[in-house]
Each structure stands twice: as C-alpha cells, then as structure tokens.
Amino acid sequence: MENAKEKIGLEAWLTTHSVSSPIQAWSQRVYFGCKEFVRQPLAMFGFIVIALLLAVALAAPLLAPYDPLQQDLAIRLLPPDGEHLLGTDELGRDLLSRIIYGSRISLYIIMLVTIILAPLGLTIGVIAGYFGGKIDTFLMRITDVFLAFPGLVLALAFVAALGPSLDNAIIAIALTGWPGLARLARAETLVFRSHDYISVVRLQGGSHARVIFLNLMPLCLPSVIVRITLSMSSILLTAAGLGFLGLGAQPPIPEWGVMLSTGRRFMLDHWWLVTMPGCTILIVSLAFNLLGDGLRDILDPRSEQQ
C-alpha cells in the first residue's frame, strides 16, 4: 500500500504544474519525454536493439560459445547447425562468436568517432555562429569545402595517407563527419545568440568563453544529440566499408566489415559467410536510425509541427 502511495506522490511531483526547482523541471521533461518515446513502437524497437547490442558487447566473453580467434581447419566452412548456430568461416572460427565480439569493435568505433566529432563540430559551429562576421565566413568556407566532398572518398583518401588501421579509420571518419555537425550547431546558435538571457550573461561580465561553453553549447545539445544518433548508422556503414576494403580494422580482428571482406572469396558457395555479418550491420544501423528518429520527435519540438 505504501509503495503505491509513494508512486502517486512521485507521479504527482513529476506531473504538477507548479514546478519548484530546476531538478524537478528537468525530471519532468525526462518523464514526459520517456512517456512520448514509449508510445512510438519503432523508436522503442531501435532502443531495445541498441540496449541489447550494449549488453552483448559488455557480456561478450559470457555469451560467445567459442573463442572468436580459435582456428580449427577440420571444421572450416560448416553451414549453420546446432553446434555452430551461424556456421564457421574459412579458418574454422565460429561465426556467432565473431559477430558477438564484433559488436565491441563497432561500439568502440562509434564511441571514439563521436568523442572526436562532437566537440569539434560543436565548437566550430558555435564559435562561427556566435562571433559572426569574418570568423563565421572563414570557418564556414572551410566547412563548405569538406561538405562539398563525398564522405567515403574523403575518408578513403585520409586512410590512404595515414596508413590502414582501425585507429586511422576512426580519425578519417571523424574528420569527414564534423562539417555537418558544425553547420547544425551554427544554425542553432544563430537562433539563440540574440536572446535576452545571453545578453544578460554578457552584461553581468560573463566572458565569451563562458557564453559559448556554458550557455550556448548546452542549448545546442538536443539537436546535436539527435544528429549524432542519426549519423551513428552512417559511421557504422562507413567503418564497415573501410574494413571491407582492407583499410579499417585488420584481420583477424572480428570486425563486421572485415568478416564480409574475407567471406567474399567464399560467398558463392557458402552464403552464410556474408549473410550473417551483413544482416547484423543492417539491423544495428536500422536501430540507430529508428532511435534517432524517435529522439528527434521528443527533443526537437520544431519537427513535430511538420
């Protein structure tokens, strides 16, 4: 009984119109956001898949039935059966175990790219939008040049110059991804910068750096988060493409793109070698897109009106 009462109390606190503290206001936003989010089945599907992916990556040693690098030529190229649920590859390695461990590589790539890309794009975009004038023109010219380039080809050129490896692929993807983010952050900043509360901070003696990092950047965050979630799928696809071309992760790392590339030589007679990793990439990338769409609907009120 007490438990139920408490719930009502909490719900009342979360839904009341008389908000008494910033924490309460923030909690209410999260609460209503979650309520909104749960109502979208596709976004929930995306969320569940990504949550599963995280869980699988964390618990990979517990879930994987075999060692992903253990070769056994006696059992090479076995079709899927009870023993090896997704079959084995050309060196007798268990495909399911490799896909499970591959989730770690993919998340590693996505996380590192985001860590490089988000501050870079955000800083450049907000600075350009806040100061305007020559700084804006200069920064946006550079951004335009990078935008005027197809992503994959530019990433290929960077990796070719840096040398093929997983870390260089991550740098290359991040370097090609920031311009879109910078444009977005600039557009957001242009909206916020003329607001009164920004002027108030300035009049109180707040420095430019304070306005940029403490006031403007947090305001840009919602749309930036949506954009990054949506671009995670293309990060995943580009990383897989680079791995496939032998320019990203190197064998025997169980990266999904690398698995497709080695499986390609045997695919005409052994369909599962390319089907399984490919389907995994497709599901995860779809999940990121669905999650991003769902987040956009709750975080970006402007998109609702469309």
């Binding site: 695919m267 089907t275 490919g278």
Partner: protein, 359 residues
C-alpha cells in the same frame, strides 16, 4: 566562365538592386562572389590532396626505384621529383602539373594517370546515369503517392523503405545479389561490364557499351551488357531512390498545405488535377535534388564497382588504394571533388535561373 556570367546575370535581380546601381554592376558582384567561392574551394581541395600526398606512408622515391637502388640513384631521383625544394615551390609545381593534366604515372598500370582516368570514367558514367534514371523513375512517383496519401499504409511503406535503404550497407547488398541472383538463380551476369567473350567486340563510340551495342545493332551484346549492368545499377539506385522519394514527399507536403491547393479543392478540381498543380511547383527543387544526388551516386559507386568488378573509377580508386598507388588515388579524389563542386554550382545556378521566386 562565360556560362557563369550568363547564369549570374539572369539571377542578379535576386540581390535587391540599390538605386543608382546598374544591373551590370550587381551581376559583376555576383560573378565575383561565385568565382571566389569556387576558386577557394578548388585551392583548399588541391591543398588537401597535396598534403595527403606528402604524408603518405610509402616513400615516393623508393616506390619508383625499388629497395635495391644505391644512394646516388636515390639522390638523383629525389631531386628529379623536386622533393629537395621548399614545400611552397613543390605546391606550385603540383598546381602547374594538375593544370596541364599531368597527374603522374600510375604504379599499378604503368600508364599516365590521366590516360587511365579517361579509360575508366565512361564505365562509371554509364552505371551512375542508369542508376539515376532508375532512381528518378521509382523515387518521384513513390514520393508523390506518399505525400498525397499522407499517413496511409503507402506513406508508412515508402518512409520505412527509405529508412531501410538508408541503413543497408550497399556493398553487402551487392554481394547478396551475386550470391542469390548469380550463383543460385543464374538470372544475371557475374562481374564486369560484359561476359569475357564479348570484351572489345564493339567499337567504343560513346564509351557506353549499351549505346555502342545499339549503334552497332549487336543485340546479343546488348542483352549481355544489360544482364551485367542491371544489378549494380539497381543497388546503386536504391540509395538515390530513397533520397529522391523522401525529398519529393516533403516538397509535395509543403505545396499541398498551401492555400492555392485549398482553393483548387474548393473549386472542385479532381485529386489528379490538384496533384498536377502542386507538382508543377516542385519541379525546379526536384531537379536540383536530382543533380545533387548524382554526386552521391559517384560516392556509392566506389564500393559497388569494387564488388561487381565494374571497371570504372571506383574500382580504379580502390585498386590504387590496395597497391599504395598514391598518384592514382589522389587524382581520383581530386576528380570526385571537382565533379562535386561543379554539380553543386550547376544545381545552384539552375535553381536561380529556373525558379522565378529566387529573383
């Protein structure tokens, strides 16, 4: 440049004429703005490729003379390549070389890169153009239907399909197509542009095997070439189809919410007539989107061509990457960059010329 001047003169009234300033002056300002942007973009592009060429992991001298050459040979070649000069001088030489079409020798083929590029580009243009046609034929009607029947099963279907196309790794789709339609069903030709016994059986008039075969009335060859091109073209088209249908949908939705549509409905026009009116107003926007998506097709062609062994620029680029052939790689990157910039410029100019609202 004359082309540019004409375009800009037509679009000049867009920047509001101030009293006392003739249209010619405004046109000049516009031309200057566009040329500055283009030149700057090209300069940065060249700087990027130049420095990428400098930091590459392989020693360009060793790549030419091999590991066994002695010190004096190394020194001679080092100086011949101009590597002893200051960077800025090297950059000047680089720009001069590019301007005269000298991209160096491709290590993989032994030909000058420019010769190789002339050879591979027609194959890519054939593939990308066919994909664009397929993408437009399917994407535009789907987008219109989705907009007209908003929130219907059609709409959700088109949107989901578009999302799916956006999420699928295209190179994987290519492999699956080879497995299913080539290895299992035998419906399509395998890799390459034509089967091996058809290679070089037709005079290259236009560079497109399909058109060349029609000119030569070689119907067997045409059939064979079609069986080879259809899968890569369809898969490559799926990306632009998704993009075009999504854009068509949002353009149409914007038009359909306008008051003139309500008026037309009130007047009793049929649904088809209303859609016709709305479509006329999105034509220009649509055209620019289609031009821009051609650039995306070139990007997608890199992996598609690699999987299907399609002898175009994408395969040339990846082959160069695998063999550390930096001359070939940088020339391809530069080529794609220039094509992208030109397409952007062209789309922009077309938009200003064709759409009276921008004036």
């Amino acid at each position: 440049m004359t082309q540019l001047t004409q375009d800009s003169e037509l679009s000049s009234p867009q920047s509001k004429p101030k009293p006392g300033r003739s249209h010619l002056v405004i046109a000049m300002i516009e031309v200057r703005r566009v040329s500055v942007t283009v030149l700057l973009t090209l300069l940065v592009l060249l700087t990027v490729t130049f420095f990428l060429g400098r930091v590459m992991p392989t020693d360009p001298v060793l790549a030419l003379i091999g590991e066994q050459a002695d010190e004096s040979t190394y020194q001679t070649v080092y100086e011949q390549l101009g590597l002893d000069k200051p960077l800025i001088v090297q950059f000047g030489i680089y720009i001069k070389d590019i301007a005269t079409g000298n991209f160096g020798i491709a290590r993989t083929t032994g030909n000058p890169v420019i010769v190789d590029i002339r050879r591979v580009v027609p194959a890519t243009i054939e593939l990308a153009t066919l994909s664009l046609i397929l993408g437009v034929i399917a994407g535009v009607p789907l987008g219109i239907v989705a907009a007209v029947r908003r929130n219907s099963a059609w709409d959700h279907g088109v949107r989901f399909f578009s999302l799916l196309g956006h999420s699928t790794p295209n190179f994987w789709l290519c492999m699956m197509a080879l497995v299913v339609f080539y290895a299992m069903l035998g419906w399509i030709g395998g890799s390459g542009r034509v089967s091996i016994f058809y290679i070089d059986t037709v005079d290259p008039v236009t560079g497109s095997i399909l058109i060349d075969a029609i000119i030569a009335r070689n119907w067997d060859l045409l059939g064979d070439a079609l069986r080879h091109v259809i899968m890569p073209a369809l898969i490559l088209a799926s990306g632009s189809m998704a993009f075009i249908s999504r854009m068509t949908r949002s353009f149409m939705l914007e038009q359909l919410s306008q008051e003139y549509i309500t008026t037309a409905r009130v007047k009793g026009l049929s649904r088809m007539q209303v859609v016709h009116h709305a479509f006329r107003n999105i034509k220009v926007q649509l055209l620019t989107i289609i031009i821009l998506s051609y650039g995306g097709l070139l990007d997608g062609a890199v992996l598609t061509e690699t999987v299907f062994a399609w002898p175009g620029f994408g395969q040339y680029l990846t082959a160069g990457l695998m063999n550390n052939d930096m001359n070939a790689v940088l020339a391809c990157v530069l080529l794609v960059g220039v094509i992208f910039v030109s397409l952007n410029l062209f789309a922009d100019a077309l938009y200003r010329v064709l759409d009276p609202r921008t004036r």
